[in-house]
Subunit: 80 residues, 2 copies
């Protein structure tokens, strides 16, 4: 999800990459995830690009809509 070494990834980078990976693995569009989480599609897109300093409440809404825990979305690839 980045050419940086995993240990250098910020929490924001790990979260954004994991949201996209889990969403795609679940076969969901950004629209579907956004609708399930009560968020706007463009907001989900900007979260996945790491452009948003996303809040803990929205992190949890996204995690619940993806069927994973907020902790799962903060792990490095090699921890998931």
């Amino acid at each position: 999800m980045s050419r940086k070494r995993k240990s250098q990834l910020s929490a924001r980078e790990r979260f954004s990459g994991n949201v996209r990976a889990v969403r795609q693995a679940n076969g969901l569009s950004q629209e579907s995830l956004a609708a399930a989480a009560g968020l706007h599609r463009t907001y989900v897109g900007s979260v996945e690009r790491g452009e948003r300093n996303v809040s803990i409440d929205n992190m949890e809404r996204i995690a619940l809509s993806l069927g994973v825990s907020i902790i799962d979305l903060l792990k490095d690839d090699d921890e998931s």
Copy 2:
């Protein structure tokens, strides 16, 4: 840290309780933690009371200042 069952705690509730617990375990005042994280003391206090919808960047700053990972601060008591 709450009379709710652990499984019912929101991410915000788990984070706020864990920040306070780790800060106190480290013998740090709210002032010291705030200074280390580049935040205001009253902000740290409101995070610990669960009043703030804290952002992922500030969550990471707090975790780094406490010497733990953001994931540690989101765990339930029985996972830490």
